[in-house]
Symmetry: C2
Subunit: 221 residues, 2 copies
DNA sequence: GAGCCGCTCGACACCGTGTCGAGTACCGTG
DNA sequence: CACGGTACTCGACACGGTGTCGAGCGGCTC
C-alpha cells in the first residue's frame, strides 16, 4: 500500500525510467487498477477507465505504461515478491517440527493469494495472453519448486523420507497442485475445497507424497 | 474428424438449431478453427479468419455461430466427451490390478489432451473470459472428482487405503494437480515434467496420497 | 408463378487500442 | 529576464475487430 520508493532508478520491469515527478500519477494508475479489479474482471476494464480513474487522459496513460497488461504486471511484481518472501520465511522458521514447517510454507502462499484475490484472478486471465506474465509466473513457480525439491532431498538424505521419483519432479507436481487448488478455491470455481479445509488437505497430500505418512518424524528411524 | 451427425436436432450447446443443409458450412468452420488453432493462438484468430477459411463472409459466420468462442466451445464439447469416456473405460477395465487401474485412468486423460494440445491451449485462454467454457470445464472436472472420490472410498472400505481427509477433498486436489501439470507440460511452459515422466510422477503422488505407498495391494491385510 | 425459407453478404455503427503532433508549464542556465 | 530544453498533457486520428441490419437470391412447394 505505502512503500514510497525513495528514488529507485532501476525499473525492474520494462515499464519506464522513473522520474521524481509524475510519480504520483504512476501510483494513481496503480491504485486505480487495484481498485477497479476489486469491482470487475480485467477484460472489462479499459485503458480509458484506468486513465480517468487516475485523473488523466488516455494518451497520457501511455506515457506511464505501455499497456493495460503492464499495469497488472507491475502490481503482480509486488505480490509475487511478497509471496516468495513470506514462504521462504515460513520455511526458515519452525526448523524443528517438520510438519509445522511444511504447513507454514503452505499457509504463507495461501495467505498471500487470499489477500490479493482480485489481482490473482487478473493474472490468471493474462496468463493466456501475456508472455511477460507467463515468464513472471514461471519464475515464481520455479523458485517454489527449487525450494521444495531441496527440502525433499534433505529429508531423504537424513532418512526421514523414502526414495522415489526425482525430488524435483514431485516438487513440480505438488506446487502446481497448490497453485490450481488455491486458485479455484478463492476464485469461487468448482470443484473446489472449503476455504477452511484447504491447508489440511494440501498438507496431507504433501506429507503423504514426501513421507508416505501423515505424521513424519514420529515413527521413522 | 469424421462423425457425420445424421440429423441430430438437439444442439446440446446453445449454438443454434441445426438444419439439414448448411451443415457442411458448420463443419467447415469447425475444421478451419481446428486447423488455425494448430498454427496460432486463439486471440490471434479473428472471426474473419474463420469465415474466410470456411469460404464464407463474416456476417454469414454469425448465421452459424454466435461468436468465436462458441466455435471453440463446440470443438471442446467433443474432446471433453472423449476424455470422459476414455477415462471411464480405463477405470472399468483392469479391475484386478489396482495400480494398473489408476495408471490407466491417468493415461487416458493424458492421451486425450496430448492429442488435442492446440484446442486445450485455446480452452485455457477462454477459461478466463468465457463463463460457458468455465462451466464446461467445471463439469468435466466434477465428473473426474466424483469418480475418483468413489474409487478412494471403495479402497478405504475394503481396507486397502488408510483413512484421512474426506475422499472428495483428496480427489479435488489430485485432479486439479493433473489438470495443471498436464497442461503446463504439453503447453511447453515451466516448470514442467518431461513428457515421458509425466504419468510415473503423477501416479506416485496419487498412490502415496491414497494408500501411503507406491505398491498398493501387496502389503496390506 | 407466388410465396416462403434457408442462406448470403455489403454496408454500417460501435468500441477499444495505440500513435502523432501540437501544445503547456516549469526548469536551469546565460 | 529571456531562452531552450525537458517533462508532461491531450485532441484528433487511424486502425482493427465485433456484431447487426436489411436487401437480395436461389430453390422448393403448393
Amino acid at each position: 500500500m505505502a512503500a514510497p520508493l525513495p528514488a529507485a532508478p532501476g525499473g525492474s520491469r520494462g515499464r519506464r525510467a522513473r522520474r521524481p515527478s509524475g510519480d504520483d500519477r504512476e501510483r494513481a494508475i496503480l491504485a486505480t487498477a487495484e481498485d477497479l479489479l476489486g469491482q470487475r474482471p480485467l477484460p472489462d476494464i479499459s485503458v480509458d477507465d484506468l486513465a480517468r480513474g487516475a485523473g488523466i487522459s488516455r494518451p497520457t496513460f501511455y506515457f506511464y505504461f505501455p499497456s493495460k497488461d503492464a499495469v497488472v504486471l507491475a502490481l503482480l511484481d509486488r505480490v509475487v515478491e511478497e509471496a516468495r518472501e513470506s514462504r521462504s520465511a515460513a520455511l526458515r522458521r519452525a526448523g524443528d517440527d517438520v510438519r509445522a514447517s511444511w504447513r507454514g510454507a503452505l499457509e504463507a502462499v495461501r495467505g498471500t493469494f487470499a489477500a490479493h484475490r482480485a489481482l490473482t484472478a487478473a493474472a490468471a486471465s493474462l496468463l493466456a495472453t501475456s508472455a511477460e506474465v507467463r515468464v513472471l509466473w514461471a519464475a515464481i513457480m520455479d523458485g517454489f519448486v527449487e525450494e521444495t525439491a531441496a527440502a525433499i532431498e534433505a529429508e531423504r538424505a537424513r532418512g526421514a523420507a523414502p526414495a522415489g521419483p526425482p525430488a524435483r519432479d514431485l516438487a513440480v507436481a505438488l506446487n502446481w497442485m497448490n497453485e490450481r487448488v488455491i486458485h479455484v478455491t478463492y476464485a469461487g470455481q468448482t470443484p473446489a475445497l472449503a476455504e477452511d479445509d484447504l491447508i489440511d488437505v494440501l498438507l496431507t497430500v504433501w506429507l503423504r507424497t514426501v513421507y508416505g505418512t501423515d505424521t513424519p518424524g514420529t515413527a521413522p528411524a
